[in-house]
Amino acid sequence: MWVFMSSIKKNNLFLLEEIVKKNFSSKYKDSVLGIFWSILRPLLLMLLFTIIFSTIFKKNIENYEVYFLSGWCLFIFFTGAISVSMGSLKANKNIILKTPAPRHIFVLGSIISEFFNFIITILLLACVMIITHASFYWSTIAFSIIPIISLTIMITGIGLMLSVACVYYTDIQHLWGVVTLVLMYGTCIFYPIEIIPEPYRHYVMLNPLFWVIDQFRCCVFYGNFPPMLDVINSLLLSVIILILGIIIFKKYEKKISMKF
């Protein structure tokens, strides 16, 4: 795990810290509400989706607000972190062309700053749960950390891969916008899995993001432990993606400065 080994070096840690601070504060720069947009955006979306869909899915979902938000938090973390880390190398072009600062720090920095945003949305989820009198299943909520970990590992792997690919082909960034939309409809964020007809349900099941969101909802929303096999599967897949990402990133890392 060279990425983590070398970021343990004191100076790199300092660089990581500064990059995270920079990313975090520049995300909502020049906006009046600033960091509050991290809360406001999912909240507004939640209201919108609740107004439109809550009556339709009343039969399947009793607390639509929490159902939607628990999926949305993870989903927006996934797509947001990847799209930011994709552009992180290009955004820091002037640093990369002038200093030998380790390149993976920029990718990791953007993922970590998105993770802080994610924590804010999780806090929002907790607030909404309190307001809507949802029941807290304390024994399983603690377990929800595992799907979050596997999601973060997956994001790091994909982020490393796509950040390099983006240096070579800019339009991956635009393509990602389409992928985001497809994922949003394909990941059961605002509808229950039951509405998909049986022959197609297996295809939705192939989506690893759906695995993670499903496990997270199991812990937080339904209050039961997700099947152990699923948890191990998704963890394993995430690790494989991470290793692949590291291999690809390491291979092209030094060529980046010559490609700009």
Binding site: N11, F14, E17, K98, D171, I172, K254, K255, M258
Partner: protein
């Protein structure tokens, strides 16, 4: 064994002379001379003179044991000055203060004489028994070895390569004689090749790539061979100037040394902390205040957090920004930005300093400050690599020069010699161009 015998013979001969003189054997002399020539880039005669100087001084020391060190030094200094004056008559422009500096470095190390005396004493005791002498030498081990120079190595190599392990002996001899002499390598560049792939029209969209692969009219990639088999070594404390025409690969070379580019072939190894003064203000964020940007830029340059925090006040003071330091960077003038960048970049005391053109940043006062700061950074044991088109500047600041021509290492050696060659070549090139124009 052979070595030691020759060594003994040399000692014996010196004993026979019975003046307690330190005289090198012919082999040692040859090796030393070539070493001096290589290190200082002087001519053969000059190296002879320097060698004689060394011998004289050491003999003085032995014969007049009572005379104080200071006297000796003064003596040597005046001699050297005379010497350098003599040389300067030959070529006033070339051999200048740098030469004087160089010769001043050559001081006699008392170790040599002490060892010599001990040796002689031991020899007189065991005159008939050679074996015992050998064992006594063995005890002294490494230090004795410094004086034995392998016959074959010195006779073969008039200009010995530094890699040759046999020549380590010469290194250590010089180390004893010249206190400042340091054989520690600080930058080593080994057969470095670097190619940039450039396309005629930049294709960075997927569609373009697909369409062109289907149509099979991919525009050919142009390969720019920026560096071709460049290899050299820079020792600790050396000030090296890099010269060459525009587009010869000077900046690429600096990029390779700092680690921005990875060479296709070959290796680059550096020892110590590198401070590249190529990257003023890399990573500045326009929305942050100057103070925040100090931390950000410092982190990008690889500084320590605690170190940077302790130096913030110094940076602010040096940058002369005063109250502007707490204002967002987007309101700075370009001069202020450059001042801040320079102040952050030069706050460290690096082992290796890399400069791409001496920076004249800011107003007149600050430019002078910049220059002073760079000079102070260049002092001492810092290894300096300076890229500049100002040949006089390189002559005055550097000991050695590297001439890069068309991606190749054309020449490396004493600064004045290389600069002369370079200027000569440049003159020739322009003449050729002029002639071509006339013929048309």
């Amino acid at each position: 064994m052979n070595q030691k015998k020759t060594h003994l013979e040399s000692k014996k001969s010196s004993n026979k002379n019975s003046n307690n003189k330190l005289i090198f054997t012919q082999n040692q002399r040859d090796a030393l001379k070539s070493k001096i020539i290589e290190k200082f880039g002087v001519s053969v005669e000059e190296s002879e003179k320097i060698l004689l100087e060394i011998e004289k001084k050491s003999n003085n020391k032995v014969s007049t044991n009572t005379s104080s060190n200071v006297d000796l030094k003064n003596n040597a200094l005046s001699k050297n000055l005379n010497n350098s004056k003599r040389i300067s008559k030959i070529d006033e422009n070339n051999v200048r203060s740098s030469n004087k500096k160089r010769i001043q470095k050559i001081n006699v190390n008392p170790k040599i004489n002490n060892l010599d005396e001990e040796n002689i004493i031991s020899k007189s005791k065991n005159n008939k028994n050679n074996e015992k002498v050998k064992s006594s030498i063995k005890k002294k081990g490494i230090e004795q070895n410094k004086f034995t120079v392998d016959k074959t190595s010195s006779s073969q190599n008039n200009f010995p390569k530094k890699h040759n392990p046999k020549n380590k002996n010469v290194d250590s001899i010089l180390q004893n004689i010249v206190p400042d002499y340091n054989s520690q390598i600080s930058i080593e560049v080994n057969h470095v090749d670097l190619t940039f792939e450039v396309q005629n029209e930049k294709i960075d969209t997927l569609k373009e790539t697909f369409v062109r692969t289907l149509k099979r009219n991919k525009s050919k990639k142009i390969k720019i061979h920026a560096l071709k088999d460049v290899s050299f070594q820079i020792h600790k404390g050396e000030k090296v100037g890099v010269i060459g025409y525009n587009g010869a690969g000077k900046s690429t070379l600096l990029g390779v040394i700092t680690g921005i580019y990875l060479p296709d072939k070959g290796t680059v190894s550096t020892v110590g902390k590198i401070s590249p003064l190529l990257s003023l203000g890399a990573g500045f964020d326009q929305n942050f205040s100057g103070r925040r940007n100090i931390m950000l830029n410092g982190a990008v340059l690889g500084y320590d957090k605690s170190f940077l925090e302790s130096k913030v006040d110094e940076i602010i003071e040096f940058s002369e920004l005063g109250k502007f330091i707490d204002i967002p960077l987007k309101n700075y003038s370009s001069g202020m930005l450059a001042k801040l960048g320079f102040s952050i970049a030069t706050v460290v005391e690096p082992d290796i300093l890399i400069i791409d053109e001496i920076l004249g940043v800011g107003d007149v006062n600050f430019q002078k400050k910049c220059r002073d700061k760079i000079m102070s950074l260049m002092d001492g044991g810092t290894t300096v690599i300076l890229v500049s088109h100002a040949i006089p500047q390189i002559r005055s600041l550097c000991d050695k020069a590297i001439w890069i021509d068309n991606g190749r290492l054309r020449d490396m050696g004493e600064v004045n010699r290389v600069c002369d060659e370079y200027l000569k070549d440049a003159e020739k090139a322009t003449k050729e161009q002029l002639e071509n124009i006339q013929f048309r």
